[in-house]
């Protein structure tokens, strides 16, 4: 019996094919969801001002500040970022600017 995947549980899934108990047999399936769509404000990363202090990383509620293997923060992952602005206030160096999201 092949394992049912979350991505197949869309709005057309039949009762025979839905996962029993609405259980899910994998982790992190929410990574398919584009919560970045919610934004009204957007953070802009000014790399030239960034001192790589990393204070923004732990306070991002949406895991939108990636950290590379050599411990450097990269540009924002806009797929999840909801534009809450916490990172901009956490940054002591003005390296994060909040601007209006243009759709």
């Amino acid at each position: 019996m092949s394992t049912q995947r979350a991505k197949d549980m869309d709005e057309n899934v039949t009762w025979k094919n839905i996962t029993p108990g609405c259980n899910i047999f994998e982790g992190g399936s929410s990574e398919m969801v584009n919560t970045g769509d919610w934004r009204t404000m957007k953070p802009v990363f000014h790399a030239d001002k960034c001192k790589q202090c990393m204070l923004c990383v732990p306070v991002c509620p949406d895991m939108s500040i990636p950290v590379t293997a050599d411990g450097k923060r990269g540009d924002f992952n806009y797929f999840f970022c909801k534009g809450c602005g916490i990172c901009s206030k956490a940054c002591p160096f003005g390296a994060i600017e909040m601007i209006k999201e243009e759709k």
């Binding site: 394992t3 549980m9 009762w15 839905i18 108990g21 259980n23 047999f25």
Partner: protein, 392 residues
């Protein structure tokens, strides 16, 4: 080779639990099921089982821990009665909808109020819509045998299962019983290896989703299918059980029904009393019989109505009331099944009886059959919603 013993119903259940040696038990005491976790705790503390016992702080938590443990990939069990069953009701629905084959022993007792510690079926009937498979025992032997079959049934369809017996009447009364050899029990019951679990699988698992209207009803239809499938599973497991022990089980038991003109439909220990009445009345030439329901969930409507189709009058015996102003819970189910099967010729009445441990005597049942004979003779049903043995 069965071993002859003398045990109370609670002891028999605890002994079956010991033989199975499940992974986890989470239980809270309540009269009259209290002895079950007590006996089992003695087994635990004396090293006769290596089950992990959680002395939880409430029945709601008892079922919560069972849900956690079963979802984790273990066999989890508990025992309760009455208000305890009522208190864990929210969790019973979750266990069934999460598709976790937990096993629960119930020593049936009246629900409060007033508070009463004696037997009736209001506790079990109160949770009949929670989605559990429900088997009822007439004797301690049946309680033990049902328990041995429980996990095979529940695990086959991924539904939780309740093994019910009458509190105090069988739970505390010592009767002769045939026990099976432990190694044979373990062979029959087997091991529990769910494909998915929270622990120890290649992939993680998430249990207990928030499902929007897009998904909820499909999930429930799938759950309903499991209950439909359970009927055949109960029969298959019973057939295997008979091969092993020689003892027969079915969805219902028909007693002297072949040519019965008057019959009762009944659940639990009072069926034993009623069989005595049937024997006495048959000896006097009355053509009476009874149908005892073993599997209440899934409800064997077709089987019950097939057995009733040629009687002239029957009474559905309810050891609980629904207080709906017209009938008890079992009557409602039998009547619905009769309507579906087109078995509408027999006259039918409902007796609410035995509430709060009101003694059910041979004479009580004889009165019922006498009433049925009058109804059969005159065609005059009278009141359908009746109470038995209430002081007027």
């Amino acid at each position: 080779m069965s071993i002859r013993e003398r045990l109370s119903g609670n002891e028999a259940i605890a002994y079956a639990m010991k033989q199975i040696n499940p992974d986890v038990m989470g239980a809270f005491p309540i009269t009259p099921s209290t002895e079950i976790p007590q006996y089992f705790s003695a087994y635990v503390d004396n090293g006769e089982v290596d089950t992990e016992f959680i002395a939880v702080e409430s029945e709601h938590s008892a079922m919560s821990t069972c849900i956690g443990a079963e979802a984790a990939g273990c066999r989890a069990i508990s025992a309760t009665s009455s208000c305890g069953l009522c208190y864990m009701t929210e969790m019973l629905y979750v266990a069934a909808s999460d598709r976790l084959p937990i096993t629960l022993a119930v020593s049936c007792r009246a629900l409060s109020g007033p508070i009463n510690i004696n037997n009736d079926h209001s506790d079990a009937m109160g949770v009949r819509d929670a989605g559990w498979i429900m088997l009822f025992a007439e004797t301690n032997q049946e309680a033990y045998d049902n328990y041995l079959q429980a996990m095979r049934i529940g695990e086959a369809v991924s539904l939780p299962i309740m093994i019910c017996q009458d509190g105090f009447i069988t739970s505390h009364a010592i009767e002769n019983i045939e026990l099976e050899d432990t190694a044979q029990v373990r062979k029959f019951v087997g091991e529990y290896h769910p494909e998915h679990a929270l622990l120890g699988r290649e992939n993680p698992m998430a249990v207990g989703a928030y499902a929007t209207p897009t998904y909820y009803i499909e999930s429930k239809r799938l759950q309903a299918q499991a209950m439909l499938d359970a009927k055949q599973v109960i029969l298959d497991v019973a057939a295997e059980f008979k091969k092993w022990t020689g003892r027969s089980y079915d969805l219902i038991e028909k007693y002297q029904m072949d040519d019965a003109e008057e019959a009762i439909v009944i659940i639990g220990s009072s069926a034993g009393t009623a069989k005595e009445t049937v024997n006495e009345m048959r000896a006097q030439g009355h053509k009476v019989g009874l149908i005892k329901i073993r599997a209440f969930r899934p409800f064997p409507g077709a089987e019950i109505t097939a057995a009733l189709k040629n009687v002239k009058a029957y009474a559905v015996m309810d050891k609980a009331d629904s207080f709906n102003g017209h009938c008890g819970p079992l009557f409602a189910e039998v009547a619905a099944a009769a309507m579906v099967a087109g078995v509408t010729t027999p006259k039918v009445i409902n007796y609410i009886y035995g509430l709060g441990g009101r003694d059910v005597r041979v004479e009580s049942i004889a009165h019922v059959f006498t009433e049925l004979e009058n109804i059969a003779k005159t065609g005059n049903v009278g009141e359908t919603y009746r109470y038995l043995d209430v002081r007027e």
